[in-house]
Symmetry: C2
């Protein structure tokens, strides 16, 4: 297979960045789009010594008004539809300060793209209903941006192995669907009965755990949840664990995996097996993904496969996925 | 009242910092001690253009190994007892890299203080059982460190009004206890019956909401919880809100207050009044606190007063506060 080319939108964004003084990166979004900013920062943390960064909810970003936000800041924003009010407002706020702004959206023409210096597009099956190639996903695009930054500011060029890996990612996800299907069949009947399901992860996977908790369990199935960091678990949250409590643990492949392993051991020691669902990326076939990026890409594999799981759960609960929403896209005056 | 002197431990730490090249601050801890790092970063964000910073759980910090962590980093760690394994390990990890390390602990002589270049002490009533003056609290000490950094690296000297404010803080807390007592009496019977209670806040208050959720509700009363960011609420979590759902909202005085106000409006629109407890710092008497620091100090006032509330709840539930713990301080092999 030939190495896929860098996305055009990413290439255009990097050409705006190159030669410019940038001393801080702000990753800014809301909800599910904010969740991809956590793994983006994780990757930047591990590849760039030059660029400090922050991840902020868009409204927090505007009102906090960090002093580090200057004309030398790069602000990367994301909104699936490009219409999220707070994120569009954050782009305008950053533009007023003179920052370079990159808007990520599934639509080339949106309020977010209008507010930003340049736009990076991506595909999402949940907006179009059409299956996508993971090469065109939000994770794939933001990782290209992050490693583009590392190339420009740190002289570390890892884009070729990243692109090779992204080109093979959809195959990995397809195999993961098959691998996890029996697990999902086993766990769906029990977890469909739960009022509270915690998700847990660390490192590159925390964003996926966060998104599954707030945008899927809470938003679409009204199941109480929290994404618990796998080590923070031991500093308070673990006291809610007993034989009745349900958890979904993501065991990834990044350098924080030992934290998730420790949490797993504790969950199995004091929880009930059929209420503790563990997705272990080490059981998947990551052939074609460069070893150094497996940890970064595991969360997308988890999140994509977990949609199959939640549809099973929704079916058993008799609450259609998008019908779980009472307020989002139904109310306009809030 | 005369201006209280800078704490001796803080002064010693600042003298180590002064004249040294520092290009990044890492705030590192676990659980309740991690929760104070969020308002510390909030303050640094608003007072320093020179210093980027990150807040990390101690185990995440070690395993993530951010490239920005170098001999030019300042690492501020906190553990109430100074014995938290991950935090002590993080201090050693940072010391090996050649970072300057400041350990905050209630004990002058602890594994954390041994691992760090210098120690800042503080008082906590929950370890000693003896009431303290808030001038000696963890918030008071870390804020002195943060504004000391702003003085050294940004030339912004706000230490005198901060110290004046800290000197008056205990009086504010004492009056807040009296002000919130009837509210707590009203809400305790209903909230004591709940299996799930969410906490919510933004900006300087998020850490207090986080700590109350994980270290108090979950850890000590086994009540399911999550600290929801007041704007993230609208991007998923709000779908769990209905007439049955319990929330505790902190309305502070920092620049993100409009986010908390918007959340309050929504909570009251779709929730049930006696399950939505709102602590509004604007109803308190902050006399003696400089207006610019009221937002920074509100979370300590909230957290301190909420202890009164949870003791009432614990009493009604028949689960003594520290008896809620099944694992912490009871198991040693995890």
């Amino acid at each position: 297979m030939t190495t896929p080319a860098l996305d055009n939108g990413v290439a255009a964004a990097l050409s705006l960045i190159d030669g410019r003084k940038i001393d801080h990166v702000f990753f800014v979004a809301c909800g599910g789009s904010l969740s991809i900013m956590h793994p983006a920062k994780f990757m930047l943390d591990q590849y760039s010594a030059a660029l400090p960064s922050d991840v902020y909810n868009a409204a927090e970003f505007i009102h906090r008004a960090p002093k580090r936000l200057t004309a030398n800041s790069l602000v990367i924003l994301c909104s699936m539809t490009g219409t999220t009010r707070e994120t569009v407002a954050a782009a305008k706020h950053a533009a007023n300060i003179g920052c370079l702004t990159i808007g990520m959206s599934t639509l080339a023409d949106s309020p977010l793209s209008e507010a930003c210096d340049t736009t990076v597009g991506f595909d999402a099956p949940y907006t179009t209903g059409v299956p996508i190639d993971a090469l065109n996903s939000n994770y794939a695009r933001i990782y290209q941006l992050v490693l583009g930054l590392a190339k420009i500011f740190d002289g570390v060029d890892k884009l070729a192995p990243l692109m090779d890996s992204l080109g093979n990612l959809q195959g990995v996800i397809d195999k993961a669907h098959a691998r996890f299907a029996p697990l999902f069949d086993d766990y769906a009947p029990q977890l469909a009965k739960e009022d509270v399901i915690y998700t847990m992860a660390s490192g590159a996977n925390f964003g996926a755990a966060y998104s599954f908790a707030i945008c899927v369990l809470m938003e679409m199935q009204r199941i109480n949840s929290q994404a618990i960091h796998a080590n923070e678990f031991f500093h308070g949250p673990f006291e809610v664990l007993d034989k009745d409590r349900a958890f979904i643990l993501l065991k990834g492949l990044d350098s924080t995996r030992p934290l998730e392993e420790r949490a797993e051991e504790f969950l199995h020691r004091f929880g009930t097996g059929d209420k503790i669902m563990v997705l272990d990326a080490a059981t998947l076939d990551f052939d074609g993904i460069a070893p150094e990026f497996r940890g970064n890409l595991a969360p997308l594999v988890f999140f994509d496969t977990l949609w199959r799981f939640i549809y099973k759960v929704a079916d058993l609960r008799g609450l259609e996925m998008l019908e779980g929403r009472r307020y989002m896209k139904k109310l306009s005056d809030y």
